[in-house]
Amino acid sequence: MMMRKSVFWLSKAKKKLCLDVVVYLILSLVGFLVLLPLLFMISTAFKDLAQAYEVPMRWIPHPFRWNIPKAMALVQQYGSGLLGAYWNTLVITLSTLVGQVFSCSLVAFGFSRFRFRGRDAIFFLFLATMIVPYQVTMIPTYIFFSWLGWINTYKPLIIPAYFATPFYVFLLRQFFLTIPMELDESARIDGAGTLVIFSRIILPLSKPALATVALFSFTATWNALLAPLVYISDMKKYTISLVLNALASVGTLMTIVPYHLLMLLSLMTMIPCIVFYIIGQRYYIRGIVMSGLKG
């Protein structure tokens, strides 16, 4: 009987090993497929025009071309050039980030730690507006900003961020709910006011959740096209999205599109997001998971 048992064990372990190997293979294949577009982009970015269009393609550029000066020259015609566009985008992205982190945490704080009439109903309404696409409110909002004289400035892109975004409020509220109320209560006994509790207790304890919101906010604003497209017409104020857009649309009229330069520009645009992602991917993933499991 002992012999039978040990043989049974062996085959079960073997089974798991085989399955594990198969799973690894599938996962690696899928992973390779996911990476393929990025590798293609990097490969093209350092070729010259002729080689970019070569069929069959060479994965490793030969000769290797340092295309950055050419890319910058290509962008020079757009007002502030490449560095200027990066700067513009950075200004908008950071201003928006600050606004979203602070307004959303304050609002989440209010929803999670205070009781008042209609609180849950208002929260539900607030969340429900997440289903409304940006394009529904786009036109009246444009007219509103036009009436304020804010067209062709960054204000329409930044100001709304200071009035809370439902998704981030939701994430932060979920997190705040896990912080025990006893902390608030003992602080109040010690004489602390609401703002102090918010800034000295809740916020420091919420760094992971705040990091998540910051990462999402950064990525969303950095990559945004529609809002800048609607509001910014002055080329000097272009964000990198608008620069790439301008190059891409000119490209459709040109017979041969300089994809090698476009790929380099795309790569340069993506790099900050990729870097932040790799550093903070724990937070990204946690944020997605928290939002999906609300059930």
Binding site: D20, V23, L27, V30, G31, V34, P37, F40, M41, Y53, M57, S103, V107, F109, G110, F111, R113, F114, R115, F116, R119, L125, F126, M130, I131, V132, P133, Q135, V136, T137, I139, P140, I143, F144, F163, A164, E185, T194, N223, A224, L225, L226, L244, A248, Y259, M263, L265, S266, T269, M270, I274, I278, Q281, Y284, I285, I288, V289, G292, L293, K294
Partner: protein, 304 residues
């Protein structure tokens, strides 16, 4: 969850209420100014004709009448719906499959999770430009690879037949986010259920259909709603890669809306388009919500 549980004094409760409302005030203002007011204004605007340079003219329901007769309106609806019907089910199947594969105690599983989620954070123009290059019929990635196998690849985004599948392919690449949600949901399924099933002699297939899938239905439901809403907002890829072409084969709804508003400068008509969009999205979400009782299992989730 209340600060003054023991002391029901009304002045303290009132103070708490006031403070709470003050805290959420930015959200309330945002809700009113950037959501509720615009939706109502869009409603009124949809009954006007407003070519921006002049003042709006009231024309009653003429916009809606025109809309119903507008073949481009119907085309854009069709394009958006076709895309959704292609991308959503495929996305759910792929994500769940990957999540099941990833739901093992294997070393290095985190690496794959991080890798699969990477495309999700790369949104916007850069990615769309990249994919336009990938879909290039002459030298793009896909046709180059097909070329290795001596297959002549299609024209992808330059072909009326292949343009929507191209968009769908692009969305599958960015499946990572959905997959992570399913992975987390899978990890929330109690092992006892599977063990009990094994004792009863269930095989892998039965375990999947009778335990895994029902337990995943709340998550599937959530992803359906979010996916539907997202597909009604597809703008950047369409704008960068095809501008609605070839012809009108990829004229996504909001692309058409944008064109009417900011290129044809017909704010009144565009407002009627946006109001229709609003109604469609709300109806779709309500529909899924109302039917969820039929197919969402909550027994385990409630205890969370």
């Amino acid at each position: 969850m209340v600060l003054n549980q023991h002391n029901k004094s009304s002045s303290l409760a009132k103070r708490e209420a006031v403070q709470g409302i003050l805290c959420i005030l930015p959200g309330i203002i945002g809700l009113l100014v950037f959501m509720i007011a615009p939706i109502m204004v869009a409603f009124f605007l949809s009954f006007t004709e407003w070519p921006i340079l002049e003042s709006p003219r009231w024309i009653g329901i003429a916009n809606y009448v025109e809309l119903l007769r507008d073949s481009l309106f119907w085309t854009s609806l069709k394009v958006t719906l076709l895309y959704t019907l292609g991308a959503l089910p495929l996305g759910i199947v792929v994500s769940i499959t990957l999540a099941i594969l990833l739901n093992r105690s294997l070393r290095g599983i985190t690496f794959f999770r991080v890798l699969y989620y990477l495309p999700v954070i790369m949104s916007g123009v850069a990615v769309s430009v990249l994919w336009r290059w990938i879909f290039n019929p002459d030298a793009g990635l896909i046709n180059q690879i097909l070329g290795y196998f001596h297959i002549e690849g299609p024209l992808w985004i330059f072909s009326e037949k292949w343009v929507l599948p191209s968009f769908i392919l692009m969305s599958v690449w960015a499946m990572g986010g959905m997959m992570l949600i399913y992975l987390a949901a899978l990890q929330g399924i109690p092992q006892q259920l599977y063990e009990a099933a094994e004792i009863d002699g269930a095989n892998i297939w039965q375990k999947f259909w009778r335990i895994t899938l029902p337990m995943l239905t709340p998550t599937i439901f959530f992803n359906l709603v979010m996916g539907l809403i997202a597909s009604f907002q597809i703008f950047t890829p369409a704008w960068i890669m095809t501008q609605g072409g070839p012809g009108t084969a990829s004229l996504f709804y909001v692309l058409y809306l944008y064109q009417q508003a900011f290129i044809s400068l017909r704010m009144g008509y565009a407002s009627s388009l946006s109001w229709i969009l609003f109604l469609l999205v709300v109806s779709a979400a309500l529909l899924i919500f109302k039917t969820r009782a039929r197919w969402v299992y909550y027994e385990v989730e409630r205890s969370k």
